[in-house]
Every structure is written in C-alpha cells, then in structure tokens.
C-alpha cells in the first residue's frame, strides 16, 4: 500500500482451542497476502508474554503502524493487546481484534468452513484497522461513596470493609432488619458455630459505624448515571416509628392491644405469631419495631386505643401518620448483594409439602432447632408430637430439569448440619436421602464422616414420593418415604414422623426487575451475571457495579464473605484511583455539515447533546457521551461520527467480510 499503512497480523492457536478446528497456518498465510499487511504470523498463545513481545518486536523491526490479532473475544483480551501495542510505541487504538475462538473454532465442527470464516474475519479486520485513527482515553472522576443493596451477610461484610477503610457506605435493606437468611440459622456448618454469635456483632457494628448510613425497610427505586457518578433514589417505607427517637425498649410491642400475637410471623417461617407492632427478632438491627398497617387496628378502623403510643410516652417515637420518604444520593460505585430465595417446596407436589403437616422445609427446621425460634429450640411437630424418625430429602428443587437444573451447593452440608442438630435435640433416628453427597470444602468431608459415625442413615437414592398410604399397621399414622436405595438396589418404604425438604437456592423472584434497574445481566438460570466467571467474578458488564453473595450464584457463608470482601476491594480500588479511564468511543459532530435539524438531541439518554439555537448546530459533551452511537445512525446529514466505530470503519468491515479473494 502506498498510504504508508503497515499491518501486522497475528493468528493465535490458543493451544488447540483454535488450532484444533481452524487451520491457523492457512489463515496466517492468507493474511500475509492481503494489501497493507507487512507481516503475518501464527503463534501458540498470543496473550502470553512472548506473544506480546512478538508484536512489539515486529512493530520495531517491520515499522508496523497497525496491528490485528485473531484470537479470542475482545471482552477477554482487547485490553491486553492494546497495552501491548502501546508498549510497542503505537497508539493503542491502532489495533483491532478478531474473535476466531468463541465465534469460530468453538462453535463449528467443519474445519474448512471454520477456517474460511476466520479468513473472512481477518480480511475484514485488516481493511478496518487501516482506517483506525489515534485516540486518547477519557477520564471520569469517581465519587467516593458506595451504595450496597441488600443487608445480608454479604452486604454487611462489604459495608464494614469499606467503612473501615474510611469510605462512606449507604446500606439499603428491604426488610425491617439487616441479617438476611443467616440471621435465621441456628448453627453454621461444618464448625457448628452459633450463627447469631458470629453475625450479631457484625450487625451491631453496622449500626454503630459512623461511615455507614443504614436504611432498612427501604428499596432502591431508580439508578441513573454511570461509573463514578450514579444518582440513586431510595424509597423508605414508613415503619411508623421514628428511628431517631426510638430507644428500642420494645414497650410498645408489649403494650399493643393485641395481648396475644395473632399475625403470621414471617421471620419464623410462619411457625409462630407476632403482633401488628413487632420487631422481627430480638437482635434486629436497627433495634426499632415496625407497625404492619395490614393488621394494625388503627389502620383498619381508626378506633384503636393506641396503647402503644401511651407506652412510648414522652419519646413520641410512634408516628402513625408517617409517610413514605424518598432519599436521593450520589455514589461512585454500587455493590449488589440481594441474595437468594429458597425454592418453593409446593412445586414438587410428590413430597407433600402443604398437604402433609409434618413435611417441613429446611428453613422452617432452622427456626425449629433455634434456641430463639418459635419453640425455643424444641423440635415439636405441627401435631405436637416429638419426632422419633426423621427423613431429610436432598436436592428438592435442585438438579432437576423440571424445576432448577443447578446444584444449590449448600444443601448437602446444611442437611448434615440439620441431621446433627435434630439428633442432638431429639435423639431421633435420621435418614438422609441423597443423589450424590457433595462435600467439597474445608472440613466438610470430615463433618460427613462425623455424621456417619453418629449413626445417621445415608441412603443413596432420589426419593420418589412422600405419602400417607399404609401397607400395614406399622405404617399407620406415619409419612412413608418411597425410594429406591440404589446401593442396596431395591425399593424401600421408610415410615417417618417428620420429613425435611432440603430446598435449593434460586434467584429472587424480582431478580429480573432488579437487574434492569441496575443495568446488569442475568445468566441463563437467573442469577446475576459476573463479568468473567474466573477472572472477574465480582464485576459486572456495567462499570462500577459489583456483585457479592448468593445473588450471583448459590454459595455458602465463607464463600459469600470472601466474595463480599472482593467486591469491597474492587470498589475501593476504583475509589482510590480517583478516576477511571473510559473508552474513547464517543460521538462527535462535524460542525461544517451539521444542518442544525436537532434530530439528535432528544435521542440521547444522557443529555450529552446540546443544540444551540444561535448557531443552529448540535454539540456533544464528550464527558457525558457513553458511546452507544444511536445519534450517529440517526443523523440525517451524516454529520455525527463515532470514535472507534466510524462509518467508514464499519463499511470496511462489512465489505471486507463479503469480498472474496
């Protein structure tokens, strides 16, 4: 080429990932013959140090001024190669990446067709890169405050980590108290530490920390802006008790005109009753009761004696006129730690939950064995009996094509824990029914061994049904578990007094709504999608938004806490850098040809386009532009262009794909 363009093309084997299907040599040889190509090479791993050095060496030796790498997805290594190109002394944007792994070798079996595809894509890139211009990255300042959504153990741990580092954190929790699922547990596996003993100090620390603003009973309603500068609104539901005035004495609860608790207690999974004014559990944070307007007499009839207010006396903390409030905040980054929901056991009707009263879910049993639970830790059945035999059925709503396909990861271990606790509380004979025992974790297998030594039965077989039909008098009045014991290799009927369903973990029912609000993605099964499963496990595809805990995938407490720490570290790294570099893919107006029609301005969701009536021209604020390119496509006079995605670059790519040599 006479225009001085000298392109280096590098085709990566990626071991056999690419080379196993695509004839890499053929692609490299083909590229060598394309106009403007000064050098074309193939190499085993382009992303490795020697691979990058190869590029830099060629830049010097062959005086290259454009580089094309045909390897994996740009989402994985575009940054790597741009840095390598910059290290060779070129503008990092004189580079284009071709995806022949995810988009070719991994998705096709026909070697010739995959190779032809790779050649087409390389040819298109060679044409495109010749047109690339040198660009500078932009910079955005990062607001140092962080929003954490969800106050379970993940949100609590991330909040404390950030607050201890001196950053201000807004922790927003939907329920009246933080603590999440962990607050409902009695013990934690495999060490059997008391969940409350390890959780409540952290909850208190959240309450006391001067760097944490805790908004419980609240929800994030809107999120606008972008990394470094998010504008968030939070809806604070009225709890009808002023948090700043309440001392947490709970005398109002005592004084409620309901002498007996009559309302289903959500925290105790419906196993007990609460009053219309209540605190979800004794260690709740904030230590402030809440009034439930659905059941409070004053809200229903307006004729209550309001004994609660009398009890509160001079403090005047109770305000039944309280209205919903809205808070508006600015933060630089956001951590989502919205958690999971337990599988609804009614979806597997063969196990009789909801039909037979003595069939329980694991979360219900967590409350039953809990010393601060509805029975004070006594395992009593709904009919008042103490169970002498208990069956624990694993994988309910897990590993099942009809419900949820995935392994929920924690059920084997919590089933072992519950088996141990029930046995300890009742001395009942306990049967565990499992498909596979999955105990990969520190001390997990040893715990399983301990349970076997304790004499708990382990029956390998997926339970067919829980039923009440009795074959003989010995089964009368029992629940019969029918299962093929696949080790003994015959079908068994095991009569028990109590059945525990080890329900799996699934995405919260509003996960889709939440992900839209925060502009993140979900993976196929509905958990929030991390940016990379191995290398960016707490990041999302939206800069500045991080994930922690079971909202990303089922995980146990140690993994959740580790991930929360990682998310906090990522947020800290962002804050402490003070700014973030942005892709130079912004749009800009060619003033000469702009006809001043004004079509573009209302299209921009970020208000980056201003239209001046005086000069009848549009202008784009480079700091506000996020680089979608919608205005570019819409401009009737073709006067808006987009860096990195110039019209001529895209045309070159399309025509390059289609022009057969």
């Amino acid at each position: 080429m006479d225009n001085g363009i000298r392109i280096g093309v590098y085709t990566c084997h990626c071991g056999t990932n690419i080379a196993g299907i695509v004839d890499v040599r053929n692609v490299a040889e083909y590229a060598a013959g394309l106009p403007g190509v000064a050098v074309s090479r193939e190499y085993k791993y382009m992303c490795s140090d020697p691979g990058q050095e190869l590029i830099q060496q060629d830049i010097r030796e062959y005086a290259l001024n454009r580089v094309v790498v045909a390897s994996c997805s740009p989402h994985l290594h575009e940054q790597t190669f741009r840095t390598a190109v910059a290290g060779g002394g070129l503008n990092p944007f004189w580079f284009h990446m071709v995806n022949i792994r995810e988009h070719a070798s991994w998705v096709h079996l026909d070697k010739a067709a995959a190779t032809a595809k790779a050649r087409d894509l390389v040819r298109a890139a060679v044409r495109r890169v010749a047109l690339h211009r040198s660009l500078e990255k932009g910079r955005v300042k990062i607001h140092p405050d962080v929003l954490i959504v969800g106050g379970g153990i993940a949100g609590i741990h991330a909040a404390l980590t950030l607050a201890n580092a001196g950053k201000h954190v807004y922790l927003v929790e939907r329920e009246p108290s933080i603590g999440g699922h962990m607050a409902k547990f009695d013990k934690t596996f495999p060490t059997l530490d008391c969940a409350a003993c390890i959780l409540t100090p952290k909850m208190s620390a959240v309450r006391a920390h001067r760097n944490i603003t805790l908004w419980s009973y609240s929800e994030v309603t809107t999120v606008e802006g972008y990394v470094g500068n998010y504008q968030v609104t939070v809806r604070r539901r009225p709890r009808y008790i002023d948090e700043s005035l309440c001392s947490g004495c709970l005398e109002c609860v005592e004084a409620c005109v309901f002498k007996q608790a009559k309302v289903t207690d959500e925290f105790n999974m419906g196993l007990s009753k609460r009053k219309p004014i209540y605190i979800p559990f004794p260690q709740a944070v904030p230590q402030v009761p809440v009034v439930d307007p659905e059941t409070c007499i004053q809200f229903k009839s307006g004729k209550c004696k309001k004994t609660c207010m009398d009890a509160c006396g001079e403090r005047h903390a109770i305000d039944l006129e309280m209205k919903e409030a809205t808070e508006r905040i600015e933060v630089g980054s956001i951590i989502l730690s919205t958690g999971f929901q337990a599988f609804d056991a009614r979806r597997t009707p063969e196990y009789g939950y909801g039909t037979y009263p003595n069939v329980y879910t694991a979360l219900e049993v967590e409350r039953l064995v809990n010393a601060s639970g509805p029975t004070g830790g006594e395992v009593v059945l709904r009919d008042g009996r103490h169970p002498r035999t208990v069956g624990i059925i694993h994988c309910v709503g897990s590993r099942d094509e009809k419900t949820n396909r995935w392994c929920s990861r924690v059920c084997c271990m919590y089933s072992l824990k519950l088996a141990h606790l029930i046995k300890e509380h009742t001395e009942a004979e306990i049967f565990n029914f499992y498909i596979d025992m999955r105990t990969p974790g520190k001390g997990f297998e040893e715990f399983y061994q301990k349970l076997r030594e304790e004499g708990v039965h382990f029956i390998r077989g997926r339970v067919a049904e829980v039923t009440d039909w009795a074959l003989d008098p010995s089964e009368e009045g029992s629940l019969v578990i029918r299962v093929e014991d696949t080790l003994a290799a015959f079908v068994r009927r095991i009569p028990v007094d109590m059945v525990v369903l080890a329900t799996g973990l699934e995405p919260r029912s509003d996960a889709q709504e939440v992900r839209r609000r925060f502009n993140v993605s979900c993976s196929t099964e509905g958990f929030f999608l991390e940016r990379h499963p191995k290398l960016a496990p707490v990041s999302t595809f939206t800069e500045g938004i991080f994930l922690a805990g079971a909202c990303q995938a089922p995980k146990d407490i140690p993994d959740t806490v580790a991930q929360a720490g990682a998310a906090a570290a990522e947020a800290l790294a962002l804050i402490d850098a003070g700014f973030i570099e942005t892709e130079p893919n912004t749009a800009y107006v060619n003033e000469e040809s702009c006809s001043g029609c004004g079509t573009c301005a209302p299209l921009c969701p970020y208000g980056a386009i201003t239209y001046s009536e005086e000069v009848r021209k549009a202008a784009i604020n480079q700091a506000k532009c996020k680089g979608c390119g919608t205005c570019v496509a819409a401009c009737p006079s073709g006067s808006i262009a987009q860096n990195l995605f110039e019209d001529d670059e895209i045309f070159a790519e399309i025509e390059g794909i289609l022009s057969y040599a």
Binding site: P349, E350, T355, T467, D468, W469, A470, L471
Partner: protein, 298 residues
C-alpha cells in the same frame, strides 16, 4: 348443544361395555350428541406399540384421519389408553419428522386426509370444562344414598400428552361427583397404576397392585371406587375374589365408571347405565340404586 365424534375403542365393546352405555346415556341427558366414528380401528395401544411403533402410530393416525374426514374434529375417546395413544401420536407426529413422514405416507396411500386439526377429548375433561360442575349441580335428580366414593384416576389420563387434570393431584372427578351430591374421599393412590394388562399375564403382581389401591381407598373411608378407564375398572372390579384368596381379606367394593354415578344422580335408568354389570359389591349396588325416587328440586 355440542356434538362429538365418538371413538369407543375395543374395550368398550367388551369388558367396558358399561362405560359405553353410561357415557351415551349421560351425554344424552346433557344434550350432547355422539356420532360413532365409522369403521374405527384399534388405537395401537400398549401391547401393539411394544411390537411395532411405526404401525401403532399409523393405526392411531387412521382414526384421527377418519375423524378429520368426517368433519367433526372433536374426537371423544373415553378409554384412557386410547386417549393417550391418540394424543401421543399427534404429539410425536408434530415433534419427529420421521414419524410424521411414515404416518403421512401410510394415510395418503390409503386415500385418507392428513391427521392434523383433530382435537382428542376425554369425557372427564368435557364434563368438567364444557358442561361444568354448576350445571351438574343444577341437573341432579336423585339424592345419593350410598357410601363415600374414592375417585381413582389411574395413570394414563394425567400423564404426558394428556390435558385432563393436574398430573400429581387430580381433583376434577371428585369435583364433578361432589357437584352431583356424591361424597368423595381423598387418597394418595389415585394416580398409581392398576397394572394394566399385568392381571392377565403376571397375575399375582397385577392382583397385588389392585389390592393395594382398593385397600387404601377403604382405609380412607371409601365404600366404592369411581374410575375413568375401562382397564382400571376391570382390574379393580373383577379380581376381588383372587385378592381374597391370596390375602384372606374380603373387600367386595363396587367399582364404577364415574359416568354411571353421574348418570344415576341425573336421573337415568340404572339398566341404561350398565349398573347390572358390576362383578364385585353387587349387594351394595342393589341397595344403593334401588328404585326409590327421591325428587330433588330443580
């Protein structure tokens, strides 16, 4: 009122004749016309499919095709096995091109139209959806004087391909009988298999399955069973003597078609409902269905 093309199937010509009689009688009372599918053939059920799947689908396909040719595309199939095979054929023809081709070729070679567009219906679902419990309630002419009934749905009506009721816990037969003033009991075995043709082959296995189903119904307080399938009714009804011989337990429980019970409640003549064709529990049958007209208003 509505009309159906009627596919009785082989069983309703033999052991299940009372099902045929009671269904015709009941639907007549409700103003639903039946026109029997001319020259219908075996549906290709279980035993046939075990030998030759392709031909089984062709057999089934011919019946569907005949119904389509006839013009009334609502095909009523009371036998659970026929109902399932007809629907399975439709499902597989839609799903697997090879089956579609084989069936299509066989039909066109016989000068028959393609089989699509036919809707296979079952009386339980027709009575529930098209007639409705409310109309049954209003049409009751006789007050029930018998014992509680356990509704036994059997297997094939609530399994894949079927659109009759929920797979795990069907209740529509219970709802219809209760609407007719007949008390029912709930029990966990209502969708367990009766063993099908096992009673004729591996006799002791088949008989035991039926013993378990009958005994559990009795344990839950039922004095009789109601069924929706000729094979279930046959198995539960005619082997109670063998059950007595092998277990020593005398059950003598009458086993009805649900159409017999509904027909009786709606005022039809017991003979027209085939009520004399019961093998077990004949004493109770005589007692419950003795002609003592107790007029119920409406």
């Amino acid at each position: 009122m509505s009309a159906f093309t009627y596919f009785p199937g082989c069983s309703l010509r033999g052991t299940g004749v009372a099902y045929d009689e009671s269904l015709r009688t009941l639907l007549k009372v409700l103003g639903i016309a039946l026109e029997e599918l001319d020259d219908w053939n075996c549906c290709g059920a279980t035993s046939y499919m075990a030998i030759d799947e392709g031909s089984a689908f062709v057999l089934s396909g011919r019946n569907l095709s005949l119904a389509r040719e006839k013009g009334n595309h609502e095909l009523l199939a009371p036998c659970a096995a026929c109902y399932l095979v007809l629907r399975k054929t439709q499902d597989y023809v839609g799903r697997y091109p090879a089956i579609a081709e084989q069936v299509g070729q066989a039909l066109s070679a016989s000068g028959l139209p393609p089989l699509d567009g036919v809707r296979v219906r079952h009386p339980l679902e027709v009575l529930y959806n098209d007639v409705g419990t409310e109309r049954i309630r209003k049409s009751v002419k006789r007050k029930w004087a018998g014992g509680k009934v356990a509704c036994y749905y059997g297997c094939q009506l609530v399994r894949p391909f079927a659109e009759v009721d929920r797979a795990h816990d069907p209740t529509r037969m219970d709802e219809l009988l209760r609407a007719a003033g007949i008390p029912t009991v709930d029990y966990a075995l209502k969708t367990k298999c009766c063993g099908g043709s096992l009673t004729g082959t591996i006799h002791d296995v088949g008989v035991r399955l039926n013993y378990i189903i009958l005994k559990e119904a009795v344990r839950k307080g039922a004095a009789a069973l109601a069924t929706v399938c000729p094979l279930c009714q046959h198995n539960l009804d005619v082997y109670q003597r063998e059950i007595r011989r092998s277990t020593g337990e005398k059950l003598d429980v009458p086993v009805f078609y649900f159409t017999q019970l509904l027909g009786w409640a709606l005022g039809s003549d017991p003979d027209a409902l085939g009520l004399k064709r019961q093998v077990s529990g004949r004493r109770l049958v005589r007692e419950w269905f003795a002609e003592r007209e107790v007029a119920v208003h409406g």
